[in-house]
Assembly symmetry: C2
Homo-oligomer: 104 residues x 2
Amino acid sequence: MVQTPQPPYYAVIFTSLRTDNSEGYNEIGDKLDEIAKEYKGFLGMDSVRNGLGISISYWKNMESIKAWKANADHIIAMQFGKEKWYKQYNVRIALVEREYGFEK
Amino acid sequence: MVQTPQPPYYAVIFTSLRTDNSEGYNEIGDKLDEIAKEYKGFLGMDSVRNGLGISISYWKNMESIKAWKANADHIIAMQFGKEKWYKQYNVRIALVEREYGFEK
């Protein structure tokens, strides 16, 4: 579980259902994760898949999200995503206003 | 995958790691899901667990989230959650500003 700074900051919520086609999925996915980490304003990511997939990346501000979205490799992956990997996906961009947690 | 209306609306992002103690977890969890659905302003929920768990509930506005949080059954479950079910959790309340999707 990623640790994020005090709000406000942004979350990009990506929910998806996969196809059976995994061509390039892991390689490109790993590369994109690496690239995101290098981006200014990237705060971290939590990802889970169990049928339904939910990936949430956290960003310092909307500018950092826009820079990431404009990245050519990312655009290529989005195109691959529509053609091959995903039956359905949804992207939500949200401003995190409050956060609290618990740890044993 | 839940369908939500046009933004803006709110997301409650719950990320968690479980303990080995599942006492009451499924029964109370199912009951809480039922109760949430009856709440005014509840828009839907997506949940996945695979080690890490991510549950995102969507709400019309902050008032509906506050009403839900004040619900006695929910409070009981949160207490159970800290005592028994969760090693660690994090709650983020976020205003969804943009949304787009793709479906084959």
